[in-house]
Amino acid sequence: MKQFDVLVIGGGHAGCEAAHAAARTGVRTALATMKASDLGVMSCNPAIGGLGKGHLVREIDALDGVMGRAADASGIQFRLLNRRKGPAVQGPRAQIDRDAYQKAMQAEIEGQANLTLIEGEVVDFTMRGERVTGIKLKSGIEIAAQAVVLTSGTFLRGVIHIGDNSYAGGRMGDNAATRLAERIDSFGLPLGRLKTGTPPRLDSRTIHWDGLDQQEADEDPSLFSFLSERAALPQISCGITHTNSKTHDIIRDNLSRSAMYGGHIDGVGPRYCPSIEDKIVRFADKDSHQIFLEPEGLHSHTVYPNGISTSLPEDVQEAYVRSIKGLENVEILQPGYAIEYDYVDPRALNADLSVPQVPGLYFAGQINGTTGYEEAAAQGLVAGLNAALHVKGAEPVHFRRDQSYIGVMIDDLTTRGVTEPYRMFTSRAEFRLSLRADNADQRLTGLGSEIGCVGEKRAVAFGAKMDALTAAKALLEQDLFTPRQIQGANIRVNQDGTKRTLFQLLAFPDVSFDNLIPLSAALEAVDGDIRAQLERDALYANYVDRQRQDVDRLRKDEKHAIPADFDFAAVNGLSNELRSKLEHVRPHDLAQAGRIDGMTPAALALILGRLRYLEKKQA
């Protein structure tokens, strides 16, 4: 029988990242997927990144993950979102050539040492007692592994709805993994049901592009990977069109035929990605909605009309799509559909995404109640790394909220759970001003090197960048300048007698790095990227200092670890409601306990008291 250290089930975004991450740390890894050609397939819109999501991709890249590199190799329209707002909330995004992305992902997986690709349908786990020991394929072959990462997406009891037609299936054309679902049922994990939808795919050759607005790519593309230098593919534009009152009439007249409005779906859908039916019902006073016509590739004829996902019957889809400007004669290549699927309540998972009841088993991606490629990939990274560390007998890696969006997401999921498919937003990160897309490497690459998941090339590049940053920062901080000297360099400053460092001056809204060169000639030699980085650091310095107090408070609470066998029932004075929440989430420290919905300071004090009592008893 074949034997591996870490075995990853599923070749989507979570699975690819998990397998690659585990293999990077040097453990023998296998990736099992139904079809080798489906690695990194984009089942929804052909785009990667965005606000919060772009931050996640940069973080994955900082840990030497694959998503950023694959996106840079296949991006056909790079745009930095929020270019006009503060750098903390700027997020890189790109339209992706679907085929080029899959090719890039396949190349990454095939080119990675210690990583074996297995083609076949996984139908069950093999178990020894509570422990998972490997997988069983449909062909009957069993493969052993010390740790298994499950990234089954929407395959768990997935049901597809188009109007009043429905059938079992994950993505269109695939079989849902119902046998695996039964095994997962036997673990007794809390399950919930979610839904998501897609729009009809259109044939670009039947669209009247003339007369439609175009959205261009950035002239100077912001790439995802810290190692990439330029976009690999030619850049294109997307078309923009709008729904109109005729479109809305057609949809309104046929609402009862929509799977969602006809009462066929119980799952909860995301508020930020409503179907066109939803938009028309909930925002009845709006007579037009924007649609982006996104080409799925340089050579593909498929267009993804972003903004009109639907579960209406095919004939209605055709009628309303053709009521839209530019789409009068459009042909639908594949109808839009809604999909319902099971997810595991992520509060039942540990912070390393392992399943407490089943040693050796990890969950990542959509199965944990998230949506989006980036969210899936980031979880895959966390699960893959932790599975590898588990095999090595090392401590799990814990990503903190003040350190990364990855940490924000993992904590949100495992502490607060989800009520709708979870998507990253920058507003979820309370330390947003420090967690920038541009400094993801400074936040995480060092940690990645410690874990052993960062390759030589990146480590060298990162080391050089950090040296340059440190040297330039030292130049900015080494001397104090009087207001008179500063005035002499044509920088407006209060003549208050306060001496300032150049770094402090750089925090002034109107002062750029270039303005400082008259004061210190050595700055002339500093590289452009380093200049930009220091400008951003200076801009937020005061706020970051203030936030550091919050971070310190958090750290203090994080030091109070709550043992896995802590008995919340033994804490006198906890309300039943809080006790059951605590038992459900099983926080690993006091800080996490404090983030549980409805937690009170008094209850935290009671838990802390009990922790102290237990420590004393042990000592």
Binding site: Q290, R432, L574
Partner: protein, 427 residues
């Protein structure tokens, strides 16, 4: 969770004494005392029995099923005869059952933890129970009613709305949302800031209502200040003698003046002196008098004093019983003019008390002040347009958190709720 009990009424003899029991075993425990418990919220007479079955008292029993109770738990009230012996016996019997004597404030703490009250209401309840004057009662009741909570909630809603507008432009920049939301955000921030400012300006009055206004009687030695104080207080609080310079320290007397709590200060006579002890008394008199809310000057108009009266201060000539010049005067000895002084004082103080804001405690003032500063910082940035929205959002977040600390918590989910109900998202 323990079940707790305590005497809810004052110690000592009274017509009725109430013992309150709260917690999961409240009904069990009561059952062992009185047998069959009446249905919730239906008062019924029951015999209260000791362990051996002897009747300790006959009581009105009133049961409340949680969460519809003061603490949010199961609660029972035993309305007993107010005899110290009965109280003792029943409390003793209770402590032998599955319950313990409550710690001070424990019922209220449970109400707080079970979300029956917020922190502001708890504070107001404390004020309500210790209210001695009508103005204090009214002010505490406003807090207990949740008026302050409601006002802060209104501010928080506006701030969450402002933050949501900004966050929508940040997190959904590639969608169909407005790019520049500065005018609406500025308007919201300004509205909240003005509201907080208004409440802060009523803080001094509110704090005075709560702890009492200070009225200082000032004047030269031997003007009859102490006699006036005694006449006002109708008791011998300050030592009075014919000897000039008797009152060396500041004497305080608390009283209720037309429903307003007042601390009357009798101060040392103001004059130059070589006596070190007296000089110290004069210095203290000066500083206390300056800090007081109102000063009553008891001095001849010709007499120069180191303090000059402020607009609301009252200036009277002393010893009305001994004078014939017709100047506005007062005498503590005969009571002449005293009623008139009381009326003037209480009119002035009632007027000031009516300007009281809902913020009554120093804790409230500090929080509101820091919220105002955060809002100013945010407004400055918002006015510059979207460039600094990320930092403005941080300022608004801080202000919102400060307000939230006054009552509860703010949560990113509230913010997203607001975003999603306001904009049609999902391109």
């Amino acid at each position: 969770m323990d079940t707790i009990f305590a005497l809810a009424t004052a110690q000592g003899r009274a017509g009725v004494a109430v013992i309150r029991i709260s917690g999961p075993s409240a009904f069990d425990v009561t059952h062992q005392l009185v047998g069959d418990i009446p249905p919730p919220r239906l008062a019924s007479l029951r015999k209260v029995r000791d362990a051996d079955g002897t009747v300790m008292d006959e009581a009105l029993v009133l049961a409340f099923s949680g969460p519809a109770s003061f603490t949010g738990e199961d609660v029972v009230e035993l309305h007993l005869h107010g005899s110290p012996a009965i109280n003792r016996a029943v409390l003793h019997r209770l402590s032998a059952l599955d319950a313990r004597l409550a710690e001070p404030g424990e019922f209220t703490r449970r109400a707080l933890e079970n979300d029956k009250m917020d922190l502001l209401q708890v504070e107001a309840l404390g004020d309500l129970i210790s209210a001695e004057t009508e103005a204090q009662r009214r002010q505490a009741m406003r807090g207990y009613d949740g008026a302050f909570t409601a006002r802060i909630d209104g501010w928080r809603m506006d701030l969450i709305r402002a933050a949501a507008l900004i966050e929508a432009t940040i997190d959904f920049a590639d969608e169909d949302v407005p790019v520049d939301v500065s005018p609406e955000v500025s308007q919201l921030l300004q509205g909240v800031q003005q509201g907080i400012q208004a409440d802060l300006s009523g803080f001094a009055a509110a704090e005075r209502v709560r702890i009492g206004f200070e009225v200082a009687i000032v004047g030269p030695p031997n003007a009859g200040k102490s006699t006036l104080l005694n006449a006002l207080a109708r008791r011998d609080a300050a030592i009075t003698s014919q000897h000039a310079g008797t009152t060396r320290d500041v004497i305080e007397v608390q009283m209720d003046l037309g429903g307003v709590a007042v601390t009357l200060l009798d101060t040392a006579g103001l004059r130059d002196t070589d006596d070190e002890v007296e000089a110290e008394g004069v210095a203290r008199a000066m500083s206390r008098a300056q800090a007081a809310d109102i000063r009553v000057f008891l001095a001849e108009q010709s007499e120069p004093l180191p303090l000059s009266p402020l607009p609301d201060d009252i200036v009277l000539a002393p010893k009305a019983d001994l004078r014939t010049d017709g100047a506005p005067s007062i005498s503590g000895t005969t009571g002449e003019g005293v009623q008139n002084l009381v009326e003037r004082l209480s009119a002035t103080l009632s007027d000031r008390a009516s300007g009281a804001g809902l913020a009554t405690q120093e804790r409230h003032r500090v929080a509101l002040q820091s919220a105002i500063e955060d809002l100013s910082a945010a407004m400055e940035k918002v006015e510059k347009g979207p460039d600094l929205y990320d930092i403005a959002a941080e300022d608004i977040r801080t202000a919102t958190r400060v307000l939230a600390i006054l009552i509860g918590r703010v949560d990113v989910e509230h913010l997203l709720d607001e975003v999603f109900s306001s904009f049609c998202l999902g391109k």
